[in-house]
C-alpha cells in the first residue's frame, strides 16, 4: 500500500479507472457501436441495425473468416510441431552452439512482417519453387512470423519442467521415445496449448505479410476489413472486426480451459 489517506486512494483509483476506460474501454465500445450503427451523422448513431453482421456472415466476408481460421489453424499447428521439435532437439546440444541456434530460431520475430512477405514474394516467384498466387504462400508467411513465438513459448516451458522426473524415468529404463511420449510431452502440454493459442491469435490479426502475398482467392479477415474501410464501408468493417476479435478470444478462452487446471499463468 503506497497511499494511506482515503482521499489519496480515491484520487489514485480515479486516475487508474480513467486511464483504463479512456484508453481501452472507449475504443472497444466505439467499434461495437459502429458495428450496429445504421445512420451516424451526429455525435452518436441515430439508427441501429444488425445488417452489418448479416453481411459479415454471408458471401465474401464469411469466406474470409474461413480463410483466416484455416490459415491460423494450419500455420499454428505446423509452427507448434516445428517449435516443439526444435526446442526438444536443442536440449541435447552443447552450450555454445545451442545459444547460436536458439538465436536463429528467434530471429524471425525481429524482422518486420512486410519484409518477410517481400522475401517470400521474391523467393517463390522464381524457380525452383513457384508459389506466388497460391494459398500456400499465405500460410507460409504466417508460419514464419509465428514460429519464433511458438518456439519461445515451448522452450520456456521446457526449462521450467522438473528435471528429475525425466531422469528417474530414464534410470528406470524408459526408452527415449517412451519418455518423450509419456513424460515430457504430457508435462509440456499446458505450454503447448498456450503456444498454440498465442500463435493462432497472432495469425488471425496478421496484416503486413499477408497484404504482400495474398492471392485473390485467399483473402484473410484483416485484409478484407481494410478493403471495406478503404472503400468507405466502415460499419461493415467494424462488424467484421468484432467478429475477428470475438473469434480470436473465443478460441483463446476455449483452449485455456482445455487441459485440466495445469495451464496456470
Amino acid at each position: 500500500m503506497l497511499v494511506w489517506s482515503s482521499s489519496g486512494r480515491a484520487w489514485a483509483w480515479g486516475v487508474l479507472l480513467a486511464c483504463f476506460f479512456l484508453i481501452y474501454g472507449v475504443p472497444l465500445a466505439i467499434i461495437a457501436l459502429a458495428s450496429v450503427a445504421g445512420e451516424w451523422n451526429s455525435v452518436l448513431p441515430e439508427k441501429f441495425t444488425f445488417l452489418h453482421y448479416r453481411h459479415a456472415f454471408s458471401g465474401e466476408a464469411s469466406a474470409q473468416l474461413r480463410a483466416s481460421i484455416a490459415t491460423g489453424a494450419i500455420a499454428s499447428l505446423v509452427a507448434l510441431v516445428a517449435g516443439t521439435w526444435s526446442a526438444l532437439a536443442l536440449r541435447t546440444i552443447a552450450r555454445v552452439p545451442r545459444r547460436v541456434l536458439d538465436m536463429l530460431f528467434f530471429v524471425p520475430s525481429a524482422v518486420p512482417s512486410v519484409s518477410v512477405g517481400l522475401g517470400l514474394l521474391v523467393a517463390f516467384s522464381r524457380p525452383p519453387v513457384l508459389l506466388n498466387g497460391t494459398t500456400a504462400i499465405v500460410i507460409i508467411a504466417h508460419l514464419v512470423l509465428i514460429s519464433a513465438f511458438t518456439y519461445g513459448n515451448v522452450s520456456a516451458g521446457l526449462s521450467r519442467l522438473p528435471a528429475d522426473v525425466e531422469q528417474i524415468a530414464e534410470s528406470l529404463g524408459a526408452t527415449p521415445a517412451y519418455r518423450l511420449r509419456r513424460i515430457t510431452l504430457p508435462l509440456l502440454a499446458p505450454y503447448l496449448v498456450a503456444a498454440f493459442s498465442l500463435s493462432f491469435a497472432m495469425s488471425m490479426g496478421e496484416l503486413g505479410a499477408t497484404v504482400m502475398v495474398y492471392p485473390p482467392g485467399w483473402v484473410t479477415l484483416p485484409v478484407g476489413i481494410f478493403a471495406l474501410t478503404d472503400r468507405g464501408a466502415v460499419f461493415d468493417g467494424a462488424a467484421l472486426t468484432v467478429v475477428l476479435a470475438a473469434t480470436t478470444l473465443l478460441v483463446l478462452f476455449g483452449l485455456s480451459r482445455m487441459p485440466s487446471r495445469a495451464v496456470a499463468r
Binding site: 500500500m1 503506497l2 483509483w13 536443442l90 518486420p112 531422469q167 476479435a245
Partner: protein, 290 residues
C-alpha cells in the same frame, strides 16, 4: 536454464544434435533463403550487374529519408508514451490495490491478442474527420470543417501505438512489481518516506530492468508496425514498412523495395540485439520477460 542442461539424451548425445536439422532446414528454406534473396536483389541494378548503385539512389532520395525519420520519430515517441503510461498503470494496480484490479490487469493483457489495427479503426471513429469528437465540436461551434485533425499526423499514429503496445510494458512491470516485498514499502513508509520518495528510491530501481527490457521490445515492435499506420492511412505519414509495401505492391519496383527492406531489417535486428542483451544483462531473474 539449469534444467535444460541437466537432461542429456541417453541415446547417443553426439548424434542427438542431428535432430535439430529438420526444423532448421525448414527455417532456412522459408526464412533465411528469402532474406538472402532480398539482400541479393538489393545489390542488383536494372542491368543485372552487381553494384551498390541501388543503395546510393534510394538512400539519398527524399522519400526514404522522410520514411526513416517518421519511423524513428513514431517508434521513440510511442515507446516513451508506453513506458510512462505502463509505469503509472502498473504502479497504481500493484501498490494502490483496487477491487477488481486483477480483472483490469487481465483485460489489458488480453489486448495483446487483438489485432493492432483495431485501435487504429476505433481512432478513426473517435478522432477521424467524421468521428465522434469532430461531430461534437462542429455541432457545438458551428464550424464547417473538422477542427480536430491530429489523427492524420505523426501524433495520431503515436497515440494509437501507445494504446496498442502499453500492455507489452505492463506485463513485465507487473511481474517485477510483484517481487517487491510489501514489507519494504511499509517500513519505508513508517520511517516517514512519502509516496514519491518510495517510488523514486524503492520501486523505480526495482522496475528499471523491466522498463529497459520492455522499452527495447516496444521500440522493435513499433519500428516494425504496419497495421496501425496502414489503417490510419495518413498521406503524410509514411514509415519504412509502408514504403516497402507501396514500392513493391503499388509500383512493382522490387529492387527499391529490397533496398529499403534491407535497411529496415538491419535496424530491426540491431534493436532486437539490444533487447536480448538487456534481458541477458539485467534480467538475471528474467524480470518476467519470456
Amino acid at each position: 536454464m539449469s534444467a535444460t542442461a541437466a537432461v542429456r539424451s541417453g541415446a547417443g548425445p553426439r548424434l542427438g544434435g542431428l535432430w535439430v536439422l529438420p526444423p532448421l532446414l525448414l527455417l532456412a528454406a522459408l526464412f533465411f533463403y528469402p532474406l538472402a534473396l532480398i539482400a541479393g536483389q538489393s545489390l542488383v541494378g536494372d542491368d543485372g550487374a552487381v553494384s551498390l548503385a541501388g543503395y546510393g539512389a534510394v538512400l539519398t532520395g527524399p522519400l526514404f529519408a522522410n520514411a526513416l525519420w517518421h519511423t524513428i520519430e513514431i517508434a521513440v515517441g510511442a515507446t516513451a508514451g508506453c513506458l510512462v503510461l505502463g509505469f503509472v498503470m502498473a504502479l497504481l494496480l500493484t501498490f494502490v490495490p483496487i477491487p477488481g484490479g486483477r480483472l483490469i490487469a487481465r483485460l489489458i493483457d488480453t489486448f495483446i491478442a487483438l489485432p493492432t489495427f483495431l485501435v487504429a479503426l476505433a481512432f478513426t471513429f473517435i478522432y477521424g474527420s467524421a468521428g465522434l469528437l469532430n461531430m461534437a465540436a462542429m455541432g457545438a461551434t458551428g464550424l464547417s470543417t473538422p477542427p480536430i485533425d491530429f489523427l492524420y499526423s505523426v501524433w495520431g499514429v503515436i497515440l494509437a501505438e501507445v494504446t496498442v503496445y502499453t500492455p507489452f510494458i505492463m506485463r513485465p512491470l507487473l511481474a517485477s512489481f510483484s517481487l517487491i516485498e510489501t514489507a519494504q514499502i511499509e517500513v519505508a513508509s513508517s520511517l516517514g518516506a512519502g509516496p514519491w520518495r518510495i517510488i523514486r528510491q524503492v520501486i523505480f530501481p526495482a522496475a528499471l530492468p523491466a522498463l529497459l527490457a520492455g522499452g527495447s521490445l516496444c521500440l522493435l515492435l513499433t519500428v516494425n508496425e504496419f497495421g496501425v499506420v496502414f489503417f490510419i492511412g495518413a498521406k503524410g505519414v509514411i514509415t519504412l514498412p509502408l514504403l516497402i509495401y507501396s514500392k513493391a505492391i503499388e509500383e512493382s519496383d522490387y529492387s527499391t523495395a529490397c533496398v529499403i527492406a534491407m535497411v529496415n531489417v538491419v535496424l530491426s535486428l540491431s534493436l532486437y540485439a539490444l533487447y536480448r542483451t538487456l534481458v541477458a544483462r539485467l534480467g538475471g531473474d528474467r524480470a518476467g520477460v519470456v
